[in-house]
């Protein structure tokens, strides 16, 4: 039985690894170097990383408290809140983009309100950030919630009896103990944000994030022009992802 399971499982691994490897190996170092020198490509990769980082930070500030509440408190409508958090995973991302446009678009109430502060969403960095935030916040909130759930509530209780206010008990006990889960949630969210295409392309075709740029090159110039960019994207994402996983892993005692 085990052998057939191994065979079936290997098919799936191969399905993921082969195309990625094929793309990477099909691109020569010279083509890769030329792509790296392309100003537009570099700018779009940096923009992608930066926008996704902003989205992750926003999700961290609001999502960690939410995750803590979900892990610790039973309140009416908790199931509904959990469902809403998971919703972005099941909604088609282009539909998510349309939905965001309905609220943050130029002529909407919110869009105009933010406009007063000079904040524009459509075809601008903030639009990219909210699109990434929308489609990837579930990863952070769920990971953080699991992290807090794994912390014995009695540790907080003991901290209270030792003189800690609820805030201090959170920062000195619950947060450090859940940090590994939160961090891996942040990495996952960040990576998910970088790869987002559907929602971003509807809110902001320009400035171009890397996946949009890739799509545009493919549409205008064909596969051979798109491939080096794809390779570069895959390699940078792989490298950053591995590095962050290593950093997070080293913290484990």
């Amino acid at each position: 039985m085990r052998i057939s399971f191994v065979l079936l499982g290997s098919l799936l691994i191969l399905f993921v690894a082969w195309p990625l490897a094929r793309t990477v190996t099909a691109t020569g170092p010279a083509a890769l170097w030329r792509t790296l020198l392309d100003e537009e490509v570099r700018a779009s990769i940096l923009l992608t990383f930066y926008a996704s980082l902003l989205a992750t930070i926003i999700a961290f500030v609001c999502g960690v408290p939410l995750a803590y509440l979900l892990a610790r408190v039973d309140f009416p409508g908790k199931r509904l809140v959990e469902g809403i958090i998971d919703l972005p995973i099941v909604v088609p991302h282009s539909a998510a983009g349309i939905a965001l446009l309905m609220v943050f678009g130029r002529r909407t109430l919110l869009g105009q309100a933010f406009g007063l502060f000079g904040l524009r969403f459509v075809s601008a960095l903030p639009g990219i950030v909210i699109a990434m935030l929308f489609v990837s916040l579930s990863f952070l909130v769920n990971a953080a919630r699991e992290g807090f759930e794994a912390v014995d509530p009695r540790l907080e209780k003991v901290a209270r009896t030792l003189g800690a206010s609820p805030w201090r008990a959170f920062w000195r006990v619950s947060f450090p103990l859940a940090w590994r889960s939160i961090l891996s949630g942040m990495i996952l969210m960040w990576a998910r944000g970088i790869s987002e295409f559907g929602a971003v392309v509807i809110l902001a075709y320009h400035p171009m994030v890397a996946p949009v740029l890739l799509y545009e090159r493919f549409e205008s110039f064909g596969l051979s022009y798109a491939r080096p960019i794809a390779t570069l994207l895959i390699l940078t994402c792989l490298a950053t992802f591995t590095a962050l996983r290593l950093i997070a892993g080293r913290k484990r005692r």
Binding site: D152, L155, K157, V158, A159, T161, L177
Partner: protein
């Protein structure tokens, strides 16, 4: 003496699946107070309410005369030790112990001095740099105790502190709890389901009874408060009698004797026992382990005494016979042997039990 007295007046706690009804306790400063009851959530709820982790529906809690009913836990000055230690896994032993001191903004030197002092008191100086996951159960519980004591609480709450330990460690730590309490004099409330633990440590015992209400809800109330002897000599009701059981429990002094035995003197009587303990001890002998006869017995039992029947309590098929040596021993025999021996009050009898049947704690 740095502990404060505790007064609990008409305390009601209502949780989803459990409630505490009308708890009234009066605990003197420096007292070692035991809350005894069958395993269940009730005793932990009581301790957590005293610590401020549950809000009571009614009633008042006074500590050293001060009403703390509505004070947050961090302002109560109450130490808490859980059954399974609840050490902070991300902090070293020293970090765990320093936790409360750091919150008080104490200087590094002062923290180190206090951690070292309490570490010495509990014999854990050599563990200070270790992480909690590398500790044995006994070590972890000592650290939890040290962490609670280092901030000099006015009251120490112990929630089944010995239940998670193996018997040998439990015995050692039980003695340690007694010693630490004598040295520091911190008022202590210790919750347990173990009667011998209660007798060995408690100045006073409160028995908590849990009842199942309709539905899944349970409720707990205090059914008897008294000194240990009062609880097992004069149980207030059927529940206490049943929970405590019929026992021969004595206080005595253990001395070494020949062949690895110990002699324990109890009210002038010398009992042979097998134990590693010496000095002041408690002794228990189960009523079914004592052999009763009219004439002198010829057996290998090390302990054979003569006495007089002072009481007979009929429980159906078995009968409990009290024999005054003194002290009084309760023996269990069948109704049939009672009739065969023709026992009644005032009759001279012989009792015997093996040294190995004597439990010393």
């Amino acid at each position: 003496m740095r502990g404060g007295g505790v007064e609990i007046k008409g305390l009601w706690v209502e949780l989803e699946e459990f409630r505490l009804c009308d708890i009234n306790l009066d605990i003197a400063a420096g007292e070692y107070f035991i809350v005894l009851g069958p395993t269940g959530a009730g005793k932990t709820v009581l301790l957590e309410t005293i610590a401020g982790l549950h809000r009571p529906r009614r009633g008042r809690i006074l500590l050293a005369g001060e009403d703390i009913t509505h004070a947050p836990p961090e302002r109560r000055g109450i130490g808490f030790v859980y059954q399974d230690y609840a050490l902070f896994p991300h902090l070293s032993v020293a970090g765990n112990m320093a936790f409360g001191l750091r919150l008080r903004g104490m200087g590094r030197g002062e923290i180190e001095r206090r951690v070292a002092a309490i570490g010495r008191l509990l014999g854990i100086e050599h563990l200070l740099h270790r992480m909690p996951e590398t500790l044995s159960g006994g070590e972890a519980q000592r650290v939890a105790l040290a962490r609670a004591l280092v901030v000099e609480p006015r009251l120490l709450l112990l929630d089944e502190p010995l239940s998670a330990l193996d018997p040998e460690t439990r015995e050692a730590l039980q003695r340690e709890l007694g010693r630490v309490h004598r040295e520091l004099g911190t008022t202590t409330i210790h919750v347990t389901h173990d009667f011998e633990e209660a007798v060995a440590l408690g100045d006073k015992i409160a028995v908590l009874k849990e009842d199942r209400l309709d539905g899944a809800k349970r409720e707990g109330r205090i059914v008897q408060v008294g000194r240990p002897e009062e609880i097992f000599r004069r149980p207030a009701n059927e529940f206490v009698a049943r929970f405590v059981g019929v026992r021969n429990i004595f206080r005595g002094e253990a001395h070494p004797a020949e062949e690895g035995y110990k002699l324990i003197s109890i009210e002038g009587l010398e009992i042979a026992a097998v134990t590693g303990l010496e000095g002041p001890v408690h002794v228990s002998v189960r009523p079914e382990d004592i052999v009763l006869s009219r004439g002198p017995l010829r057996s290998s039992a090390r302990n054979a005494f003569q006495g007089r029947v002072v009481g007979i309590s009929d429980r159906g098929t078995v009968v409990y016979v009290s024999v005054r040596v003194p002290p009084d021993f309760v023996c269990m025999i069948t109704r049939r042997s009672l009739e065969e021996m023709g026992l009644r009050e005032g009759v001279e009898v012989h009792i015997a039990f093996k040294a190995s049947a004597v439990h010393v704690f």
